[in-house]
Amino acid sequence: MDGELVKLGASLIAILALAWFAKLLKLGGDIRISDAAQARAIASETVYGFEPTDIVLDKAGIGALLKDAQGRQMLIRRHGVAFVGRLLDRKVDARLDRNFLTIGTGEKAFGKVTLDLGEAAQYWAAGLRHLPA
């Protein structure tokens, strides 16, 4: 039993050391969505066959909203050094504050995202109000 606890303790120290080392080496980085083409590619990776006809990027490139010809809307955002997305097919928690649109998908673990969409924020906020409950 003592031997098992020693192994457990050593493993814990090792994983903390490795995580610290990853930070020390500045692994990871700061990724942004640079243009509509990249947002389109991320959306297609998120839901195969999703072809956006309307795209708005966050001013800092941390996320985007997209709409396809069927009227489906998708939120994409960065997650570490990758991107994740969700189809917004149900009523979402959306709050508009001038150019900033805060969206909660209803998934607690996914969290809320605040996007700076400039003047387009109102248009996209209006689109989110029409989602089914």
Partner: protein, 326 residues
Amino acid sequence: MGGGAEAFARMIPHLPNPVDYTVPAFVLLIFLEMLWARRRAPEKYEPKDTLVSLAFGLGSTVAGALTAGAVLAMALWTWQYRIVTIPFTWWAWIACFVLDDLAYYVFHRTAHRVRWFWASHVNHHSSQHYNLSTALRQSWTGFIALGFIFRLPLMLIGFHPAMVFFVGGLNLIYQFWIHTEVIQRFPAWFEAVMNTPSHHRVHHATNPRYLDRNYAGVFIIWDRMFGTFTPEVEEEPIRYGIVKQLGSFNLLWSVFHEWVGIARDVWSAPFRYKLGYVWRPPGWTHDGSRDTSDTIRERWQENQAWTNSTSSSSAGVPGAAQPLAD
């Protein structure tokens, strides 16, 4: 257990868990891969993701220790009913290793095709990164998912549980080093027989072309034999993770999210569909409102066929692409 079997059991050498001896090497190799990443591709590691993966590994060890007694008891109980008694000789070790790898293939394929098993195995796939730390992203709930039952046939044949668990440890060790993007391809003969980083990258991909392929543990021959092999192709960069990416570094959510999903679906489904959310493939719904790997691949194949039919320069089978050069 009869007297003869008890005498045989007393003759069994004490076999250590080989994984215990390789953990320092795992740590060292991750350390070296991080140095590589710093020079070549810092985005291959994400510190938070790495910490979650390593915590998965640690938690999995604890969960394994807590349930080891029960698993061993079930293995020994099964071994009572063995067809023959296989001795601890060199050929038995080889046979056991190969058959255990076949059992792993069956387990692994089931783990991707039956949601109950996937709820546990999804943990290994939920990182959007593919590096050596991902290899340690092991499930905490393998016992609940009953993953150990896939090894029981080996005990029924007559391999002693100690031998089966030992070769299972070797299998796990082999699978560690293939979780890397540092190595591209090995010589053709090696790629033909063994599971390699290239083959296993395909397995971790979410691209429709690659979904649910290359289930092998050590020998890729099982996938070639049973029609589940797909090579890595040059023109399609791999995207890692799961079809619906987690979007969270919360460890507990990462561990239990699919179990929570099953519970919610079973609760809300009409009575006659409830079990379907347990035993059907991940993504299955009674109303077809979500995608499974099969539906995604079908759409992709239709799209490829349409693209090929409208392109005068294209020829060959839908979705055909050039494998990476051997």
